[in-house]
C-alpha cells in the first residue's frame, strides 16, 4: 500500500488530543460532533466552535476483542470502549486493565490520550483508568 493520505481536520484533532487539548465541535444548540465538519450533523447549524472535553469520561460500553484485522494483529486481545466525554462520545482502546470482561464495567471513569498501536506504531485513541484524586 502507498503512504496514507492525510486527513485534514481529523489529523489536527488527533494532534490536539495527543497534546492534552482534545476538543469537540459544538453548535449553538449544544450538539457535539467530531471534525471534519461543515455543519452540525444533528441540526445543520454551520456555526461550529471548539468546546473542551471533560477531564475524565465514563465508559458507556466495551468489548474484549480477540480477533482483529492486520492493523491490530499484535494488539489483541484488547478492550475496545465507547466513552462519554460530555459534548461527545469517543471510541478507543482501554489500556491499563486486564483484557477481560470482568476487569471493566460500564460507568468506569477513564482519561483519554493518544498512544501507539502495538502492531504498527500508528496513533491510537487510548483510554486509561482515571487516577484516584
Amino acid at each position: 500500500m502507498s503512504a496514507p493520505a492525510s486527513n485534514g481536520g481529523y489529523d489536527e484533532w488527533l494532534d490536539a488530543l495527543a497534546d492534552g487539548e482534545g476538543y469537540a465541535l459544538v453548535c449553538p444548540d449544544g450538539h457535539g460532533s467530531l471534525p471534519p465538519r461543515r455543519v452540525c450533523p444533528e441540526c445543520g447549524a454551520a456555526a461550529l466552535s471548539e468546546g473542551p472535553l471533560a477531564e475524565t469520561g465514563t465508559v458507556e460500553t466495551y468489548s474484549v476483542v480477540h480477533v482483529a484485522g492486520p492493523r491490530f494483529a499484535d494488539d489483541t486481545p484488547y478492550v475496545n470502549a465507547i466513552v462519554d466525554f460530555g459534548p461527545i462520545r469517543l471510541t478507543g482502546v482501554l489500556r491499563g486493565v486486564e483484557p477481560a470482561t470482568e476487569a471493566v464495567a460500564v460507568g468506569d471513569r477513564v482519561a483519554v490520550g493518544v498512544e501507539e498501536r502495538a502492531t504498527d506504531g500508528e496513533p491510537l485513541v487510548v483510554f486509561r483508568p482515571a487516577t484516584e484524586e
Partner: protein, 388 residues
C-alpha cells in the same frame, strides 16, 4: 400505482466456493430465478444489483454491467452498496421502479465473494462498513461493534450470553433442512457458550460465518403477471428504509437501532399492516444480538424484551412467530451483498409453501424481511403478503 409481485427467486448454495467467480455465482442465481419465474430474460427492463466488497475481494469495480452480461440481460444496470444491506436496497429500488410504472420486469439481488480472502483481510474488509477515522482506526471490528452493542444492551436491559446462545441454537436448527445453507448442523446452547471468544461478550457461535453466494429475484408488475399468465402469488406490499448516524458512538442510545425502527414504520404503513399481523420474519442476525435488536425495532417486542424470545420459544420454528426459518445469516450464511435478496427469496418460498420449513408456517399470509447495514446505520424492511 401498480402492485409489485415476486415472480421468481434464485439462490446459489451459500458457503465456500473458492473456485467460483462472482459473475458465475450471480449467473447461477439469476438462471434459477428465471426458471422459477417463467419470465423471458428479454422482458427485463432493469437490473438492480447489490455488492459490498467486490473491489477488495475480486479486484472488480463497475460490477453491474458485468452481472447483466452474466445474467443474460441487456438493460439499465446499477450496483447498490449499503454494506450488508446492499441487496435489500437493490430490491427496494426494483420494487419502487415497478410500482412507479417505469419497468414491468426488474431483476434484483446481489452477490458477495469472501472466502477467497484470508480471514484477517475479510475482517479488515468488513470493518470498512464502520467509520474509518473514528471507529476502524480506534480498533472497532465488525464483531467488536456488535459486541459493544451487546454489552450496552445487557447493561440497559439485562440478558445473558445464554439468551444469545438460544438464538444461535434456534437458527442452526432451522438451517438443517435448507439445501442452500452453509451450516446444516445443530449447535447446542452449551456448545455455543463454550466456543472461543471473538469479541466478548460475543463468541464464535454468536457470529455469522464468512460466505460466498448470490441471490436473484424477478420482480414484476401485477398487470404483467396477469397478462402473461405468470404465477406470482406473493406481493411486496411494503418497503421502507432508514438511516442513522454512521458511528455507533454518535447514536443517542447504544442498544437500539432507530434506522430499523424507521424502516419498519415506513414498510408497515406502506403495506397497511402492523407488527401483530406478521406471521413469519427473516431478520438480519449477523450476530445473535442483532436478531434481538431487530425483533424490537420491528415492533414484535418492547425494548429489553426481545432477548428472551428464542429462549422462551416464541421465535422458534414451532413458536408463535418463527424467525429466521432459513437458518438466518447465522447458519445459512452471510454473503454480505447478497443477503437482502436471499431473505426475500426465503420468505417468498415460505409463503408459497415450497420451502423445506413451510410446514411451520402453513397458514402464513404476511412475512417481514429486515436487512441491516453496518451497525444498522442503514436498514431496509420489506413486507411480503400472499396476494392470491
Amino acid at each position: 400505482m401498480t402492485d409489485a409481485r415476486v415472480a421468481g427467486v434464485g439462490l446459489t448454495h451459500f458457503g465456500s466456493h473458492p473456485d467460483r467467480t462472482g459473475r458465475d455465482l450471480f449467473a447461477t442465481a439469476a438462471l434459477r430465478a428465471f426458471e422459477d419465474a417463467g419470465v423471458p430474460r428479454e422482458d427485463v427492463e432493469e437490473l438492480n444489483y447489490g455488492n459490498f466488497m467486490g473491489a477488495l475481494a475480486e479486484h472488480q469495480g463497475h460490477q453491474a454491467p458485468l452481472m447483466a452480461e452474466a445474467a443474460g440481460v441487456n438493460c439499465p444496470s446499477t450496483r447498490y452498496e449499503e454494506a450488508c444491506a446492499s441487496a435489500g436496497v437493490a430490491v427496494r429500488e426494483a420494487v419502487r421502479t415497478v410500482r412507479a410504472g417505469d419497468a414491468d420486469v426488474a431483476l434484483a439481488g446481489g452477490m458477495e465473494r469472501m472466502t477467497n480472502l484470508p480471514t484477517d483481510e475479510v475482517t479488515e474488509g468488513l470493518a470498512i462498513a464502520a467509520d474509518d477515522l473514528f471507529e476502524v482506526r480506534a480498533g472497532v471490528t465488525f464483531p467488536g461493534a456488535y459486541a459493544l452493542m451487546a454489552t450496552a444492551y445487557f447493561d440497559a436491559y439485562g440478558g445473558t450470553r445464554e439468551d444469545l446462545a438460544h438464538v444461535a441454537a434456534k437458527n442452526h436448527a432451522n438451517a438443517v433442512p435448507n439445501e442452500y445453507a452453509q451450516y446444516r448442523k445443530e449447535v447446542s446452547v452449551e456448545e455455543a457458550l463454550e466456543a472461543p471468544p471473538v469479541a466478548e461478550p460475543l463468541h464464535l457461535y454468536d457470529a455469522c460465518p464468512i460466505t460466498d453466494g448470490a441471490s436473484a429475484l424477478v420482480i414484476v408488475s401485477e398487470e404483467y403477471a396477469a397478462e402473461n399468465d405468470v404465477d406470482a402469488p406473493v406481493a411486496v406490499a411494503g418497503t421502507g428504509q432508514g438511516t442513522d448516524r454512521m458511528a455507533l458512538a454518535d447514536r443517542e442510545r447504544l442498544a437500539r437501532t432507530p434506522a430499523a425502527d424507521d424502516a419498519a414504520d415506513a414498510a408497515y404503513a406502506d403495506a397497511g399492516v402492523g407488527p401483530d399481523d406478521v406471521d413469519v420474519a427473516e431478520v438480519h442476525d449477523c450476530f445473535t444480538i442483532a436478531e434481538v435488536l431487530a425483533l424490537e425495532s420491528l415492533g414484535f417486542f418492547d425494548p429489553g424484551e426481545g432477548i428472551a424470545a428464542a429462549r422462551e420459544g416464541v421465535t422458534t420454528a414451532d413458536g408463535d412467530l418463527p424467525v429466521n426459518l432459513s437458518g438466518g445469516l447465522k447458519a445459512k450464511g452471510h454473503p454480505v451483498g447478497a443477503t437482502g435478496g436471499s431473505q426475500i427469496a426465503e420468505l417468498t418460498r415460505l409463503l408459497r409453501g415450497d420451502h423445506p420449513n413451510s410446514e411451520h408456517v402453513a397458514d402464513a399470509e404476511v412475512g417481514v424481511a429486515h436487512n441491516a447495514g453496518g451497525t444498522v446505520a442503514s436498514a431496509v424492511v420489506h413486507v411480503l403478503e400472499v396476494a392470491e
